[in-house]
Symmetry: D2
Subunit: 263 residues, 4 copies
């Protein structure tokens, strides 16, 4: 079946996409050092924090997406380095604790096909003022994030190549959970998934490094009744020290058909 | 676990809602006679078309929803009468082929907890002009539905009571489907679910009957790449004859914890 | 000429509207006592503060507007009692310092035909939770107002009639200002206007009184570059004491063709 | 006074903007040959159609706008070549019959300070699919324009220089009209204005030429009650032959303080 399409409307499209010169993606990311204890509290079973407890908050602004007939959408994620130690699989990578997106269609398929922890928020284009880029995120009028990067210095092709070589993890880790209808508390689906690191079509066109700041805003239940616990978890994360920020422009992607269950 | 909340952010809220005087819902519905064959093509296994092939297109505009801290959202559904003949369960009701909603948060939980075939679209408030109410639905700027009701006549309390007695089905039927990650074509979840008809807190405050018209607009893949097959299925449905339209105002709801799997 | 329509596209519509059973308007208002000095600083020439310096912040949620073919839109205003002492006219009423609206079309005609100080913001429907109604206003993601009313008590027909008799001013006062192109600092138009109080078609259907709170949020230039001085003026207004809040449902309006220049 | 800011909130900002490396603008334009008679019907007094009756429909997507603290917005205009023969001024340029914008703040100041015939619509980013760029425009859910460009060929620096030399008009012409309040049918302001062609900070970074198509969609009064006559005027314009299309990326702008009245 085609995920995210009600059963009444299946039937093949027969479309394939090459994802070669598109999509175009600009990603802004800020890293900070925090407490191991606070991150460990977020881990599912069989996940362990790996190395220095550095959190990455990133926002990607995507255009020319072929499977959306050339439209774009934006995403905002929070991740940190982990190891998954399963019965079969032993992988190291980034645990994507949550991924906000500003369009429901990829949220549905991303959650159900791939196991991404996608939820919704508003993600307008970043503002750019005298060299400072400012990303915001809000939910029905409540702004829960300000993230800025500035003093960006463009990297040389050699520096970009070195950056690519430094990306050595196995990929991005997720935890797919679908409750069992009517048997509240038990699950239809509960497993970790992996987005393997390889993305042969993706090319980094430009990359900058600089300084960044992240500020989550404390939400009351009334402000974000479905998401306040998530936002407040990040609000409560201690920022011991910023560890760099970046902006990167890439083209190309993969269709994620290599997404797989970790056991 | 709390559905729709990433695993990293579980932890109880301890909130309960009584759903007694809220939400407030205005529902506009139009019915038409179509071909049995066209509806049968939409049925999952073990579902059968029941009685006259009458399709109902309905839009509900909801406010004062307690679990959204008093916000509202809108929905648009298409259903027709079916019987589910399972190994254990034998139920009669409406098959909700698709339910569009204009807010992602209830789409996620509705799909994953309850098995509703929810997807996203824009659903602005209906316009009201000289007695005609006009509902529209669009997706990223492509309007795929115009639905109007007019010549509405308000019903007496006796007529409303008679209408309520005439609602004899077992409830609303759904088909929950979640693909298995990485094993494309096979399923993690594939079962029918039932929303039982009983909704003790719901009270019909006012109801009108009149004339209505429904027009789905043919979409190209480029117009609605994730949903064009759905919209075009309805565009292709023959409208042999309209079979009445209504507007209804209700207060109260249930928390849907009685949703159950059909076997 | 038809205001707000470019000169290239004039030509009569021939439409008239009776504004009798529509629009339907729900207005939430909160009053507070402040400093005379702070209000006097906001007054144009020939305007004087009258009586007790009580500011009213009101939000109206309008549906079934005939000239918008049955659509609705929402407004948010701030006013206080003044007297205009012109050469010819001597009128007493409310000075509408600013009127935010969430639709550009009536902003344009309201400014240019009528002299209203209309500007744009987002004005979602108020939330309603356990008897508390909560209005918010934002501009491109920056929320600049929270206003709540609660403990509302519905008034009797006699109380509503008494309320109507107590409304004795001449109407709502505005200041229309249009700069002269290219002669920066001088004006094409600079005069006060009056919306006379009479609105024969308007009927109060229901009214409640209760308690309210208003909170404007301090904006940086970066948050609201076109409006931060406005929002900060209200943020700085001392709230000495709240002086009641109300909610009111009305039907009917007037076409404002009685709007006139004050001299 | 500062235009578009209510009189109660004047007071200087003291901000100046250099508009040198920003804004960044991508403009897509399609030209077509039509009937002289149809264009002449759109001309105000003292305007004459000049040369071949070629209409340009253009959409600009702007980011990093300094006076909006780094935000962006989008515009859609329709223009054709004219001569203005006033008592004093005799200028040749493009008459901008209407300019849609998707943000109210610049609409207000553009109309009142500058005399631009700005009105509101929704203008999402164009989609880009296999080399075809597709612009749409809608108003509260009614899509009134599809415009596409394809087979784009990038121009050399020499071709761009030649293009710049070919732009010989005096600028863009407008007609500013503000009705007199209460004296319906007479005007406070009625004069032509000019945006002089010179824009020293603007640099064309890249330019492409190719094929384009424009389709306005017929609107009923119910679809666009404030704008249907405008859209239908363009819908009715005969497209005798397309005369090229282009895409252009520019940086830099001017503050429009050279805007002046034509007499």
């Amino acid at each position: 079946m085609i995920a995210g399409r009600p059963i009444a409307f299946q039937g093949e499209n027969g479309r394939t996409f090459d994802n070669r010169d598109t999509p175009k993606i600009t990603t802004i990311a800020v890293n900070f050092l925090t407490n191991s204890e606070q991150l460990e509290a977020l881990l599912p079973e069989r996940f362990e924090l790996t190395g220095t407890p550095i959190v990455t908050v990133f926002a990607s602004y995507m255009t020319e997406i072929e499977w959306l007939a050339g439209r774009g959408y934006n995403i905002l994620g929070v991740s940190f380095p982990v190891t998954f130690k399963g019965e079969r699989d032993h992988v190291r990578g980034s645990f994507l604790t949550v991924l906000w997106e500003n369009l429901a269609d990829p949220i549905i398929t991303g959650r159900e096909e791939l196991g991404y922890a996608k939820i919704y928020c508003e993600l307008p284009e970043p503002t750019v003022l005298r060299g400072e880029r400012h990303c915001i995120a809000s939910w029905l009028g409540f702004k829960f994030l300000d993230m800025t990067v500035k003093n960006l210095r463009q990297q040389s092709p050699e520096e970009i190549a070195a950056f690519e070589r430094s990306q050595t993890g196995d990929g991005v880790l997720h935890y797919k959970y679908i409750p069992k209808t009517g048997e509240w508390g038990s699950a239809d689906v509960a497993y970790a998934t992996l987005t393997p690191a390889a993305s042969p079509n993706r090319v980094i066109k430009e990359r900058w490094v600089g300084e960044g700041r992240v500020q989550f805003h404390k939400a009351r239940w009334e402000d974000m009744p479905t998401q306040f616990t998530i936002v407040n978890t990040f609000y409560d994360l201690e920022i011991k020290e910023y560890r760099g920020a970046s902006m990167m422009k890439t083209v190309g992607a993969k269709d994620l058909s290599d997404q797989r269950i970790l056991r």
